[in-house]
């Protein structure tokens, strides 16, 4: 079933998707086109955290619940690829950019969890969810297994994506994709205090109150 022009179509689709996603949210998801084989066409793969931008858990302020989500679809038609049961991933965590930059292998990660089976969300074909509570830091995911292609074939998947944050020397140094191309990025969980307003000990420069008071007088 593999057709050469599907490769080009996939790339074009991906570029188009990036432009769309990029205009919607700076902290979007990371994308890949996985090249089909004799039994499947190209598959569109999307990975990121739910409810982006993500923030780490901070008791009393933010629950840190940003699930890992993967969306799978047929690249040419956008039809959802449902009911893949043989999808697994490993996840890696670095506490901060400094530790990430210093690491030369995934063995240096501050936390590692392997062999997790990710399953489809109930009632949402093609949407795969792993529930988790995240911390402020750098997350990476190695996804592997097989994607079921409409019951007529299974396409192996083997890719590693890492989130991106300012200061990372090379956000892609641990990334890879087998038989595919990848585009875009997803943001790392930050500190919920970054969006606090007014910040503790900070000042706001809005003169409205003062001016308004004078008007009232």
């Amino acid at each position: 079933m593999k057709q050469t022009n599907y490769v080009l179509l996939g790339i074009l689709t991906s570029v188009a998707m990036i432009s769309v996603v990029g205009t919607q949210n700076a902290s979007a998801h990371q994308l890949a086109v996985l090249f089909g084989d004799s039994d499947t066409n190209n598959i569109f793969f999307v990975l990121g955290h739910t409810d982006e931008p993500a923030f780490g858990q901070d008791p009393g302020k933010h629950d840190g619940k940003h699930n890992l989500e993967i969306r799978l679809s047929d690249d040419a038609t956008d039809l959802a690829l449902a009911d893949s049961t043989d999808l697994f991933f490993d996840k890696y965590y670095f506490k901060n950019v400094k530790k990430y930059n210093k690491a030369n292998s995934l063995d240096k990660a501050d936390a590692v969890e392997t062999g997790i089976n990710i399953s489809q969300a109930f009632g949402d074909p093609g949407h795969y969810i792993h529930r988790q509570i995240v911390s402020d830091g750098i997350y990476g995911y190695h996804v592997y297994g097989e994607i079921d292609y409409f019951g007529v074939g299974k396409l192996p998947v083997d890719l590693t994506f890492f989130c991106s944050r300012d200061g990372m020397d090379d956000p892609a140094k641990f990334e890879s994709v087998t038989d595919g191309v990848t585009f875009g990025e997803f943001g790392c969980p930050g500190s919920i205090d970054d969006i606090k307003f007014p910040k503790k000990g900070g000042h706001h420069n809005n003169q409205f109150n003062k001016d308004d008071k004078s008007k009232d007088d």
Binding site: T77, D78, L79, F150
Partner: protein, 217 residues
């Protein structure tokens, strides 16, 4: 009734009509593993069109549905005059052709393909010139345009096609799959039109079962 091997005038006429419509811009015609239906408790959009009393002249086009700017997926039902796919065949095809894809105001963004049909022998009566066909739009496994906004009937034969009582089209749209802005067709106009490929799951010939289908729906 024969297709255009002997006489290409109707096809040329049909193509010309489509091209003229595009040139003037304002006229826009108007167990299946990849069918996931509607999400949640949403209602699908259903369009039922009676064809009785309509005669399509050679080259004539009858627009059925136009969801522009959104690409859509759904189920298509046609009851129509029919003839054996080959002499003596127990699988029938409609004498009218069904095409789907996108007709854009810009010809270069246009693509229309004949769609794969499934002959439903259990509710057909070829002796009465009444045959039932299903299609899945889009069909990622058996061909046709991968993205569709428009569905039309077209007479590619060299004779009039007259529809009588009981001949109908029913289109059930279940999902939106992107839009023409984020994923346009390019390098058009592309017209892959001709007699529809017809599959039959219920005859002795299993070479015409198509891919990914194990039962009728």
């Amino acid at each position: 009734m024969t297709y255009l091997k002997q006489n290409k005038i109707p096809m040329i006429t049909g193509t010309a009509l489509l091209t003229i419509a595009l040139a003037f811009g304002g006229t826009v015609f108007a167990s299946h593993s990849f069918e996931t239906g509607v999400k949640g408790d949403s209602l699908p959009d259903n369009t039922h069109i009676r064809l009785d009393g309509i005669t399509l002249a050679p080259g004539g086009v009858f627009p059925l549905y136009d969801s522009s700017p959104n690409y859509v997926s759904g189920h298509f039902l046609l009851t129509a005059p029919c003839e054996p796919v080959t002499e003596g065949d127990d699988t029938y095809r409609p004498t009218v052709s069904v095409i789907a894809g996108h007709i854009d105001e810009l010809a270069e963004n246009t693509r229309m393909d004949s769609i794969p049909l499934f002959y439903i022998n259990t509710v057909s009566n070829p002796d009465a010139n009444y045959c039932v066909f299903h299609a899945h739009i889009p069909d990622p496994l058996n061909g046709g345009a991968p993205k569709a906004t428009d569905i039309d009937l077209i007479n590619l034969t060299d004779e009039d096609i007259t529809f009588t009582s009981g001949h109908i089209v029913d289109i059930n749209i279940q999902q939106v799959l992107g839009n023409i802005t984020s994923s346009p067709y390019t390098d058009g106009p592309t017209l892959n039109v001709g007699p529809n490929p017809v599959f039959d799951l219920n005859d002795e010939d299993h070479t015409n079962d198509g891919i990914g289908h194990s039962s009728q729906s």
